[in-house]
Subunit: 370 residues, 2 copies
């Protein structure tokens, strides 16, 4: 049995220090997972991810289904072997991407009809199909196919949606056949306390290997609604299973999530903001395009142990970003990923020392320049 | 004195094995120089260049003059420190770029008027200005500012042009003030035997630190004209100075150049063809986009010692190129640069063993699938 196993090590109020055993080694949680949409974390090599101390990385089922196709990935030995990443991997269900490409009328009990973003061809994704693709992709953690209703959805729509998501979760679980792969259930319900509670309780009844909280990173979702959604869901999730907050990676949100009992996070943020010249620092985000860095021959952040900060200046990275050279994006991606991973390392240390609250307060004060 | 010093070690017919002493260490020639136009070899880190066994790398004066500006590079400690490349660097004169942006009527005795490719603003480059910029960029080797007439230029035009290039070479040498930097002269003269001879003899009279043969990689230049240009120039170049064939990087052309007594080469080819999915192999160029590599889980080339071949399959790289992910371009760039560097390593070995001719013949036969 090579399935990932979670163990809760200790709690500091609701914040959890945990451990996951995988065939690649043991990793600690809370953990930030870098996103490698198309079987590559944009611009980076596996070695650069190891050097950032990455654990699980995430790939997107929808994108890999279309190109190169799940059968090629399976023949390569699974997503990890395909991209030569010697660590654990997680695939999403494709739902998040699919719903942004579908019309509401194309969502039926059976599944979702939508048009390919590549060639406009008609595609159809069902809970069974999503799980079958993920079985072939061979990630260590697969996600159930769920509906992600927009933040603007009515209470009534949301209620019907979580019922359907539960039926879909059941259908996906039924066909899940990869014994080395975990399958996670997803709690939905928007900002509604009763719906989150109902969705959490009913999803847990289906007995998944872990649980995620979805629908919190949609466009138009407020921070307050995100924190509420976690507060309303977490009490009904079992303590001995991983808890995953999907699509969240702002440093403050990671801290808020950990405080509420979340173990793992993922987000495209560190690589996406890198493309626009942005870098996380302990004193908040900075944009390297700013003229004040023109002759700044110091690293992005003093005392940062990342490859970019150990070897290059703001002035040089600014130049690379300004002339649109990929190496600039690569250096900022390394720095930003390392920043979030380092944040989780410090969070874990603070939980060990029972002072997560203090750490969180001090981090946010400095980060928000208060 | 930290100027690069060349030493001829041995000859095998006209092919030369040489050594350059630099403040970064000793390197052997023949050598292929990777091109880092904007102070970065596209997509690659310095460490990746060291792992390819790169020696000198080249940066473009025109591009760095415009962005970030030579003063910033000087303040950073020179081009090497700016980009954190711990090896020798060479800058071109800007001429090649400038002439492609200028109208013929804008070329005067004083210099060249042209419009910036970035914002269309009016710019003026002179032999003095080019050398002064390069002094500040602080490369280990600077090039004289020369006119690069098109292949279609008349004999008369070419004759006048080489006279002006000689006057420009004198003017540039006069203002060259960086004592740690070599300044090279450039031989022009198109495919005309008498003009190449005259240009070589007169340029050598000016006593530069090394000599390059220019005007062989222009659009419309035939291979035969390139080989002739070398044959007509080399006999008049001193044996104890480096000989540089500008803009040439096709494997067969490197071999033809070495056979005729050339020491160093540069070309954007390995990184440019990488962007289009092409890889050098001993059996010729291949395009990874080809459908036949879809399920090819072997490296680009068996027995290749590069990072790409040691870690990734054709199938994976093909996927990355198809979905336009930079990591694919990066892997192909590493492979292609390593391929050309390895070629020069094998060339050096063959010169040591007095069998360059045999090596060249066998390489070309296999490369051209004869």
């Amino acid at each position: 049995m090579t399935k990932i196993k979670y163990k809760l090590i200790k709690e500091d109020n609701k914040a959890r220090l945990g451990q996951i055993e995988t065939k690649y080694g043991t990793y600690e949680t809370p953990m930030f997972m870098a996103v490698g949409t198309r079987a590559t974390v944009k611009t980076l090599s596996p070695e650069e991810l190891y050097n950032c101390n990455c654990g699980i990385i995430l790939a997107n089922t929808y994108h890999l289904w279309l190109r190169p196709g799940e059968d090629i990935v399976k023949k390569a030995g699974g997503i990890g072997k395909f991209m030569n990443y010697k660590g654990p991997t997680l695939t999403d269900s494709g739902g998040y991407q699919v719903f942004s490409l579908a019309n509401p009328k194309d969502i039926t009990e059976e599944g979702v009809k939508f048009k390919s973003h590549i060639d406009g061809s008609n595609l159809f994704l069902t809970p069974e199909k999503s799980v079958e693709i993920q079985n072939k992709l061979g990630s260590d953690i697969a996600m159930s196919f769920d509906e992600c209703p927009p933040a603007s959805a009515s209470y009534e729509y949301m209620k019907n949606s979580i019922e359907r998501t539960l039926r879909w979760a059941k259908r996906g679980k039924k066909v899940h056949s990869n014994k080395d792969q975990c399958l996670f259930g997803i709690v939905q319900g928007g900002p509604h306390e009763d719906l989150r509670k109902y969705s959490a309780i009913e999803t847990v009844k289906l007995d998944f290997d872990g649980y995620s909280i979805g629908g919190v990173a949609n466009d138009g979702e407020s921070k307050e609604d995100m924190y509420k959604a976690i507060d309303y869901s977490v009490p009904y999730l079992p303590k001995d299973k991983l808890r995953y907050l999907m699509g969240v990676g702002e440093p403050v949100d990671i801290l808020e999530g950990v405080e509420r009992g979340i173990d793992i996070f993922d987000c495209v943020l560190p690589t996406r903001i890198a493309r626009h010249g942005n870098a996380f620092t302990k004193s908040g985000k900075i944009n390297l395009k700013n003229a004040k860095y023109k002759e700044d021959f110091t690293p992005i952040e003093k005392n940062c142990d990342c490859y970019a900060c150990q070897n290059f200046t703001k002035s040089y990275i600014r130049h690379l970003i300004n002339v649109n050279e990929t190496f600039g994006q690569r250096l900022l991606s390394i720095h930003n990923i390392r920043f979030l991973i380092k944040l989780t390392e410090e969070i874990r240390e603070s939980i060990k020392n029972n002072n997560f609250d203090k750490y969180k307060k001090e981090f946010i004060e400095k980060y928000q320049n208060k």
